[in-house]
C-alpha cells in the first residue's frame, strides 16, 4: 500500500498575477448590486450564513442605488461623504509627497480604501470607540478631527499631540473615538472586544469597533478577539479590511485556499457578512446594521470589507516588485470616489462641474490663531495660505 503513495509536497499559494502579467479578476465573483437582502438586526447568525460568501452591494454599474440596503443616507450626507473621501485622498497625496520631499519620515496611504473608514464613521455615535489599524484615518477625517493636527503628528513637530513619541500616522484621539494606534498588528482587535465588554459590564449603550487587515487575521489575537466576542456576546463590530495585499503577500497566504475571511465568523457563531468596500452606500448601510445590532444587545458582527490596496503598502514599499502595475486599474469594484461621484451625478444630485473640496474645518483657523501666521476668515477656508496648498492638490 505505502509504495502507491506519492511523496508529499508543500502547498504555497501564489497570487494570480505577478509583475509583467495581465491582471485577471474573472474568477472573482461579484453579485449584482441589490442582490443580497437586508436581514433584521436581530438575525440569528445561522440564518444569514450565505452572507459570508456573497457581497452586499448598493451601487450598480450605472451608479444607481438599488436593493434593500439603499436609501440610508440623504443626498447632503452623500455629498459630505464624497468630500470626506476626497479630503482623505488629497491629504494622502500631499503627505506622500511630503515624505518624498524628506519633510516627514514615513507615510501610509488609503488609496482605493477611502470608503471603508469614511462611510463606516458615520454609522457610529458620539462615545463609540474605534480600535483602528494604521489605514483607517477616514474615521478621523469623517469625525471632524483637524487635518492640521494629523499633519502635526506626521511631522512630529511642536504641535504634535503625541509629543513626537510615535511614528507618523499612529494617531490617537479619545475625543474622536479613535484608539491609540499601535505598530503591533492584531493587538487592537481583541482590545476592542474588551472595550465592548466594559460597556456591557457598565450597562452602557456605547459600542466598540475593531479593525484588522486581511494579512493580520492570521495573528493569534484575531482568534482571541473572535472567541471573547462570541463568548460574552460583546457589543462590537469586528471589521476585516480585505485589500488583497499584506505588504507583498497576497491574501491567499493568510486565508488559505477556500472560504472567505467573513466565513471564519461562522465557527464562532458570529453574524458574518461581506460588503463591497468600494461602495460608500453599502459600507455605510452594513455598518449601520451591525452597529444597531451591537447597540441593541444582539451581539457582535464580523464584516469583511472587500476592497483593493491601490497604493503601495507604505512610503517604504514599491509594489511593482511583486504585483502588476495594472492590477489596481483592473480591480473590478472600481474606485470608491468615482463610484459615489457617478451616483450623485446620475441621480441628479451632483453637478458635473462641482469637484468636491476637502471637507469641514481642516483646523487651519486654530493653527493660524496660535501661530499668528494667518488671518481668520469666515467660512470653510479660514486661512488663505495653507488652503491654497491643499486646493492645489485637487
Amino acid at each position: 500500500m505505502t509504495d502507491e503513495i506519492e511523496p508529499l509536497s508543500l502547498n504555497v499559494p501564489e497570487p494570480g498575477c505577478r509583475p509583467g502579467d495581465t491582471p485577471d479578476f474573472s474568477d472573482f465573483e461579484i453579485p449584482r448590486a441589490g442582490a443580497v437582502p437586508r436581514p433584521p438586526v436581530d438575525a440569528d447568525p445561522d440564518s444569514i450564513r450565505d452572507m459570508a460568501f456573497s457581497i452586499v452591494r448598493v451601487l450598480n454599474k450605472e451608479g444607481e442605488a438599488v436593493g434593500d440596503w439603499a436609501g440610508a443616507l440623504s443626498t447632503d450626507e452623500l455629498r459630505e461623504g464624497l468630500r470626506h473621501m476626497v479630503t482623505l485622498r488629497t491629504f494622502d497625496a500631499r503627505m506622500q509627497t511630503a515624505q518624498r520631499q524628506g519633510k516627514t519620515s514615513f507615510y501610509m496611504q488609503h488609496l482605493g480604501e477611502e470608503a471603508v473608514s469614511c462611510a463606516f464613521a458615520r454609522a457610529l455615535e458620539d462615545g463609540d470607540m474605534n480600535f483602528p489599524t494604521y489605514r483607517q484615518a477616514g474615521l478621523l477625517v469623517a469625525s471632524g478631527y483637524p487635518m492640521l493636527t494629523m499633519m502635526n503628528q506626521i511631522y512630529s513637530n511642536a504641535h504634535d499631540p503625541l509629543h513626537g513619541r510615535q511614528l507618523p500616522i499612529m494617531y490617537s484621539s479619545k475625543e474622536h473615538g479613535f484608539f491609540s494606534i499601535s505598530g503591533n498588528l492584531g493587538t487592537q482587535f481583541v482590545q476592542s472586544v474588551g472595550w465592548a465588554m466594559a460597556s456591557a459590564i457598565s450597562g452602557d449603550t456605547k459600542i466598540a469597533t475593531g479593525w484588522i487587515g486581511d494579512g493580520s487575521t492570521a495573528e493569534s489575537d484575531f482568534h482571541a478577539a473572535m472567541v471573547f466576542a462570541s463568548t460574552y456576546k460583546a457589543p462590537v463590530v469586528l471589521n476585516i479590511v480585505n485589500n488583497q495585499w499584506a505588504i507583498s503577500t497576497f491574501q491567499g497566504i493568510a486565508r488559505g485556499g477556500v472560504g472567505t475571511f467573513a466565513a471564519r465568523g461562522h465557527g464562532f457563531g458570529i453574524a458574518s457578512l461581506r460588503v463591497d468596500g468600494n461602495d460608500y452606500l453599502a459600507v455605510h448601510a452594513v455598518a449601520k446594521w451591525a452597529a444597531e445590532r451591537a447597540r441593541r444587545g444582539f451581539g457582535p458582527t464580523l464584516i469583511e470589507h472587500v476592497t483593493y490596496r491601490a497604493g503601495g503598502h507604505s512610503t517604504s514599499d514599491d509594489p511593482s516588485a511583486y504585483r502588476s502595475r495594472r492590477e489596481a486599474a483592473a480591480w473590478p469594484l472600481g474606485d470608491p470616489i468615482e463610484r459615489l461621484k457617478q451616483h450623485l451625478i446620475t441621480s441628479g444630485n451632483g453637478r458635473r462641474t462641482a469637484t468636491p473640496r476637502p471637507s469641514g474645518d481642516p483646523g487651519f483657523g486654530d493653527f493660524c490663531a496660535e501661530t499668528g501666521r494667518g488671518r481668520r476668515h469666515p467660512g470653510r477656508w479660514r486661512c488663505a495660505q495653507p488652503a491654497r496648498h491643499v486646493r492645489g492638490c485637487l
Partner: protein, 337 residues
C-alpha cells in the same frame, strides 16, 4: 486584624477593592464560579455577580488584551494568569500595549490593570509550574512589578496595585500561599495562621509600591531577597550566625534603591538571592545598581545566589532551588573576601 493565609489575604484584597469601586472587575481562567485553582477569588462571583467576576476562555492574550480595552473604557480589571509560566502568549499585549499605552498616546489613554500570576518553585511543579519570569517584566519600561512574601503585604500591595493608575504585574509566590517556606522541604509546613505575619490588618490600607521592608536588621552584610527567598535568607542567617540585614524588596519596579543603598553602605557587603535563572535575571540589575551606588563602600564583590541557567527540573527540585545551604555558603564566602 484577622489571621489569614496569603490566599485569603489576596481574596480579601479583591473583596475590599470590589466593594469600594464598582469599576474593579476580576476575571481569568477558572476565576469565576470555581473561585480560582488556588482559591484566590473564592466567593467573589457569588458576592458581586457574574458581570464583576467571571470565567475566561483559555487564551492569555485574550485575557490581557480585553483587559486593556476595558481599562481604555474606564474600568479597573484585575486579571489572573493561572501560572506565571503561561503568561508568554500574552507577552505582546503586556509589552507592546499595556506598558506603552500611556506613553504612546501621551496620556490620552491609560491602562490601570493588575495582572496577577502565581510564580516560583519549590512545589515539584517542573518546567511549567515553577518559573520566575520577573526579569521579563522589570526589563519593560511602563510596567510595575510586585512580589509579596506574606499575607499582610499581599493584601496591602494588591490594594496598592489596584489603586495604581498604570499596569502592575503582581507575582504571587505560590510556595508561600499557605505558609512560609525557608527551603527546608523536609520540615512540615507551618500555616500562616500560626505565624505573626499571618495577621492581616482589616480595612483598605495599602502597602505602598516602591518601598522595601527590612525583615532583619544586621551589621555585617546585606541580603537582597523577595518572595520565598526572604525566608531562605532568614534561615541561612540563623544557620550561619552571620549578622546580616535581610531586605524584602516587595516591589521590584519601582525599586526602593534608597533602602538598599543605605543598607549596603552600612554593611559593606551584599548578597542577592532569587529563584529565577541567573543570566540577565533581576539580580544582575540589582548588582549593577549596588555597584554603581556603593562602589566605595564595598568590602567584597557582590554575589548572586540564583536558580541555575536551565529550565526548572522536576526530580532535581532541591538541587535547583536556592536553599539555605547554598545561600549560607555564599554568605560565608562574602564574609571571608
Amino acid at each position: 486584624m484577622a489571621s489569614m493565609t496569603m490566599i485569603e489575604a489576596i481574596r480579601e484584597a479583591h473583596d475590599v477593592a470590589m466593594a469600594a469601586d464598582d469599576k474593579v472587575v476580576v476575571y481569568g481562567e477558572d476565576v469565576g464560579f470555581f473561585g480560582g485553582v488556588f482559591r484566590c477569588t473564592a466567593g467573589l462571583q457569588e458576592k458581586y455577580g457574574k458581570s464583576r467576576c467571571f470565567d475566561a476562555p483559555i487564551n492569555e492574550s485574550g485575557i490581557v488584551g480585553t483587559a486593556i480595552g476595558m481599562a481604555a473604557y474606564g474600568l479597573k480589571p484585575v486579571i489572573e494568569i493561572q501560572f506565571a509560566d503561561y503568561v508568554y502568549p500574552a507577552y505582546d499585549q503586556i509589552v507592546s500595549e499595556a506598558a506603552r499605552l500611556r506613553h504612546r498616546s501621551n496620556g490620552d489613554f491609560t491602562c490601570p490593570i493588575v495582572i496577577r500570576m502565581p510564580t516560583g518553585g519549590g512545589i515539584f511543579g517542573g518546567q511549567t509550574h515553577s518559573q520566575s519570569p520577573e526579569a521579563l517584566f522589570t526589563h519593560v519600561s511602563g510596567l510595575k512589578v510586585v512580589m509579596p512574601s506574606n499575607p499582610a503585604d499581599a493584601k496591602g500591595l494588591l490594594l496598592a496595585s489596584i489603586a495604581d493608575p498604570d499596569p502592575v504585574i503582581f507575582l504571587e509566590p505560590k510556595r508561600l500561599y499557605n505558609g512560609p517556606f525557608d527551603g527546608h522541604h523536609d520540615k512540615p509546613l507551618v500555616s500562616w495562621k500560626k505565624h505573626p505575619l499571618g495577621d492581616v490588618p482589616d480595612g483598605s490600607d495599602a502597602v505602598p509600591l516602591g518601598k522595601a521592608k527590612i525583615r532583619r536588621e544586621g551589621a555585617d552584610l546585606t541580603i537582597l531577597a523577595y518572595g520565598t527567598m526572604v525566608y531562605v535568607a532568614e534561615a541561612a542567617v540563623a544557620e550561619t550566625g552571620i549578622d546580616a540585614e535581610v531586605i524584602d524588596l516587595r516591589s521590584l519596579m519601582p525599586l526602593d534603591l534608597e533602602t538598599i543603598v543605605a543598607s549596603v553602605q552600612k554593611t559593606g557587603r551584599c548578597v542577592i538571592v532569587h529563584e529565577a535563572t541567573r543570566t540577565c535575571g533581576f539580580g544582575a540589575e540589582l548588582m549593577s545598581l549596588v555597584q554603581e551606588s556603593c562602589f566605595y563602600h564595598l568590602e567584597a564583590p557582590i554575589i548572586r545566589v540564583t536558580g541555575w541557567d536551565t529550565p526548572y527540573p522536576h526530580a532535581q527540585e532541591w538541587e535547583y532551588f536556592p536553599g539555605p545551604a547554598r545561600l549560607g555558603e555564599a554568605l560565608n564566602k562574602v564574609m571571608e573576601d
